[in-house]
């Protein structure tokens, strides 16, 4: 059964293992130069480092890209900023888990796809293909990471009023009640 051997390993432990593997990959893959990436505004971050924020921004853009059925995407809704702000209210252990998960995502192409580029450096189509691999993986840890980010990003994105016209939601019903 996919993932079953890892089912009894705690999430924290798995993420720690993942981080360890990521560190090895970092050293073997050319060091810190790999951690540059495209450059969203990283000023005034609450809990994430600039690199973690860059990874998250790329991930959010991959999960909910601009264009396609409607123009709005993750950047329009500032999903990465929302996530960073959300972490301000989380216990330190949860924040560390998220930070470790973002490291894993960044090094995912190297660790799981034998690529020589980190996630932030992949072209958008390859980012999407790689990210979908997390949701379909036999490895429980990768599926956990997929759903962890997918749930947050989906919830915040579709809660935004500017998105509602594109899906046909007329907005909170109280405002539509006849007075």
């Amino acid at each position: 059964m996919p993932g079953r051997p890892l089912a009894l390993v705690t999430r924290r432990r798995v993420l720690q293992l993942g981080l360890g593997t990521g560190a090895v990959a970092l050293l073997g893959g050319g060091g810190l130069t790999l951690l540059r990436g495209s450059a969203p505004d990283v000023a005034n971050l609450k809990r994430l480092s600039p690199q973690q924020f860059r990874t998250l921004s790329a991930l959010a853009r991959t999960h909910l890209p601009a264009g396609g059925p409607f123009a709005l995407g993750a950047d329009d809704a500032q999903l990465a900023r929302a996530f960073d702000a959300y972490l301000e209210g989380e216990p330190p252990a949860h924040v560390r888990d998220v930070q470790r998960a973002l490291h894993l995502v960044e090094f995912g192409p190297i660790l799981f796809d034998r690529r020589l580029k980190t996630f932030s450096h992949l072209p958008p189509a390859e980012q999407l293909q790689h990210w979908l691999g997390w949701g379909q993986s036999d490895l429980l840890l990768r599926r956990q990471v997929w759903w962890g980010f997918a749930k947050f990003l989906g919830l915040v994105f579709y809660d935004r009023p500017e998105v509602w016209p594109h899906i046909g939601y007329p907005g909170p019903s109280l405002e539509r009640l006849p007075t």
Partner: protein, 508 residues
């Protein structure tokens, strides 16, 4: 002095003395507080969440899941396979539930009598407590005009297949307008829940209620006077602020299994059964696309259940499954979209044409709550092979009902989504592994963890809810349930809490 105090806004005395300290303000805690305050006891209620009523309930997902649910809506089992939904708000789960009233069947009370030695829990003995609970709720059947299209579709499918089903009873007041956002609270305060009915009565009878007050630990749990160590929380409930202590002779735990059992464990109270025998009743979400708009977000979200496959007897308790119509606001539905990129957005553009349901599958009490690092509760739960088999059966049945009602595609939110286009596709369901985090399962009806049983080796509390190994520490929420009581826990929690509180008020 009768009060409702928000500890985030008002300084709390370092010590509060009372006769009875109730931890948790949902149906169990609020019933206990009301019954005991009306019996003349000096009662203090502690609630970790804030007080949300009226227009504070904004119908917006991000803000409301953040404020009304435990762990800001992000709680899961340890393997992240099941989202754990429970209230963290004054009034507890009744503020965020879908208002379904499904009392425990007589077979369940009999099973608890015979299997767990709860000899006074027979159907006849429990009937008056059940009636009291239903009266608190103002429970009544829904009217035909309150069934929205999303639920009518399920009824249509069941009817075409000659399957049994029922329109559920609910606890909505007459002024319910079917706003459709029950799962993030009702801004019209049309739910006859613990916040609207029981807490005001408890306060009128003299209870003092503190919200944004976290009970951290119970000290001297085997002594005459217990000390409940508490922390006030900030306005958003994120961080602890000031410490204070509630001194009480009796402590009643009613903080949901996800709060009650961890508090006992952190306090070093109770026997080795604490945390065991947890039931999560995992639910499977199922979507269907129809050629015409369903507008499932309009009207009462949950009204009709296909009960053809649900069974209940006094040997096995609940088994089989129910199929119930449900719909949430766009955020929560968007969070379950199993696709990334444009394909995920594409699915949501069909929002108006989506019908949605939950497959409710009772379970054995196979879960366990333990303490992790820094005393954080960890929920361990592994789906049994029997449950997985029933889940596949339920998915096939749900899909058949939708096809019978005219669905074009049935969508199971695996990654990538399993798209079923006709009955010929149903065989594909057999291949589902249902391994953790392959499908976003939900749990909204947690039960057990401090199981009541006549013998200490079988449970963590006696039939009156008194925790073994502690002195005058009780459980009065679903934590004490020996097994799954019902597909929806609101009515059974009220019935049991009425019984236990009445016994305690009588000095039992």
């Amino acid at each position: 002095m009768s009060t409702l105090t928000d500890c985030a806004l008002t300084a709390v005395p370092a010590h509060i003395d009372c006769d009875i300290c109730v931890i948790g303000s949902g149906y169990g805690g609020a019933t206990a507080a009301r019954v005991l305050a009306e019996a003349g006891r000096d009662v203090v209620v502690l609630e970790e969440g804030g007080d949300y009523t009226g227009k504070l309930l904004t119908q917006r997902d991000a803000a409301m899941y953040d404020q009304l649910y435990i762990q800001r809506g992000g709680a899961t089992t340890e393997d992240m396979g099941i989202s754990l939904l429970a209230g963290r708000v004054l009034g507890g789960g009744g503020v965020i539930n879908a208002c379904d009233v499904v009392p425990a069947e007589d077979a369940i009370w009999r099973m608890w009598q015979t299997r767990f030695g709860l000899k006074d829990f027979g159907p006849e003995a429990m009937a008056p407590f059940n009636q009291q609970g239903l009266a608190d709720l103002g429970a009544r059947p829904m009217r035909a005009d309150q069934i929205n299209r999303n639920n009518a579709i399920l009824r249509q499918g069941a009817s075409a297949l000659h399957w049994r089903g029922e329109v559920m009873e609910h606890n909505r007041a007459e002024h319910c307008k079917g706003l459709g956002t029950c799962l993030v609270g009702c801004p019209l305060d049309a739910k006859q829940n613990a916040r609207m009915i029981l807490i005001p009565k408890a306060i009128s009878a003299g209870a003092r209620v503190f919200c944004r007050a976290r009970a951290v630990r119970i000290e001297a749990g085997s002594s005459e006077q217990k000390r409940v160590q508490c922390r006030s929380l900030d306005r958003r409930g994120y961080h602890e602020q000031q410490g204070f202590e509630v001194r009480a002779r009796i402590v009643i735990l009613a903080a949901n299994p996800l709060g009650t059992a961890p508090l006992l464990l952190r306090s070093g109270l109770g026997n080795s059964q604490v945390g065991r025998h947890l039931s999560l009743q995992p639910q499977v979400p199922l979507l269907a696309l129809f050629p015409q708009p369903v507008d499932a977000f309009l009207g009462i979200p949950q009204a009709y259940a296909i009960t053809q496959f649900a069974t209940c007897d006094e040997t096995r308790g609940h088994s089989g499954f129910r199929i119930e119509g449900i719909m949430g606001t766009p955020g929560i539905v968007g969070s379950l979209v199993p696709q990334a990129g444009s394909a995920g957005k594409e699915l949501m553009t069909h929002w108006r044409n989506i019908a949605a349901s939950l497959l409710l599958l009772p379970d054995e009490s196979v879960g366990r709550i333990v303490l992790g690092a820094a005393g954080v509760a960890v929920v361990r739960y592994e789906l049994t092979a029997e449950w997985r088999g029933r889940a596949r059966q339920a998915i096939r049945a749900g899909a058949r009902a939708y096809f019978a009602a005219g669905a074009q595609v049935v969508v199971l939110p695996t990654v990538p989504p399993m798209l079923l286009k006709s009955e010929a596709d149903l065989a594909r369901v057999d291949a589902l592994s249902l391994a953790p985090a392959t499908l976003p399962l939900l749990s909204a009806h947690q039960q057990g963890g401090v199981r009541m049983a006549a013998r200490e080796q079988d449970g963590a509390a006696d039939p009156d809810g008194r925790v073994y190994g502690a002195r005058d520490v009780y459980v009065m929420d679903s934590s004490g349930f020996p097994t799954t009581a019902s597909s929806h826990t609101m009515a059974p929690i009220l019935a049991v809490a009425h019984r236990q509180a009445a016994r305690l008020a009588q000095g039992g």
